[in-house]
Amino acid sequence: MDLFIWLAYSQPIRSIVEAEKFYKRAIEVLPGNIEAMREYALFLHKMGRYRDALRYAKKLAQDADDMYVELLIGDCYLKLDEKEEALRAYEKGIAMYNERIGFSFTDQNTDYLRNLLSLYEENGQQEKAKALRDKFDLQ
């Protein structure tokens, strides 16, 4: 794990190590439990273990059509500097957006949108960037 992430992380290292033991056991005893796998994938992502997070998020995506899982996959790819894959996953996630259900603007989810926005801008896809900004009212 990236030392910076360790240092930036406020939890004592022992808690983190213990948390992983609990998550791993959860995955063993609750095979196919979407929530357990999602929480573990998010934990790994938070720990900066993007390749591992990606593995679980992809498994999750096979079992559940979930916008936020696709966005998480996109984010893992982005952090791994695999931008094409990131763009594909982010867009797949956004395509699942349902206006009636809405979007949960947590910090993390908002970051996903901003990252996609940056990718569009980086690629010169201004129309897509504008559409995304308008759709989610991003500044």
Partner: protein, 179 residues
Amino acid sequence: MVYYSHSGYYVLTGKSIDIDFFPIFAFENQQSKLRALKYFFDFMSAKELHIKYADVAYSVNGGYTRPIHRYIGEEIFEILRAPHILHAESPPELWTFRDTAENMLSGGEDEIVVEYLEEPLKKYPEDLPLRMLDAAARLFMKRFGDAFDKVDRLCAKDDKYCYGFVYMAGILSTNKEYS
């Protein structure tokens, strides 16, 4: 759905009582979970709200209800089956043990919970809610190995408690304070 029937009673039919509601309701009213349950059913009774049929939604495996609060659903079932429980002079002893331990835990008195639960656990060694509360208290006391083993045994006994691992991992990884 609640509607006013021709017979003049409020009738609750075919909708769910989500146990998620009670911890929040109790917190907002500064009550224990057991008192919140009684308040809810007394209110329904005062409104002459008759329950024809209802689902009790736990939502534990979806991550909404903490595994330590699963017992609330079990108590709701008991009340629905035997409403006279609420009119007794005192609640069932086991419910009081669970409620007191939960109250202590939510007040951050983890060590006292473990101590307090010694006797109830001797009396009701098979009561999984009491054992779950005991496991949670040990986690908050940083006795991680103990907590892990206890959840493992609970999970082996009844897989509805396996989500305890996710619940505890979440506490450990996000520094969420118990409330």
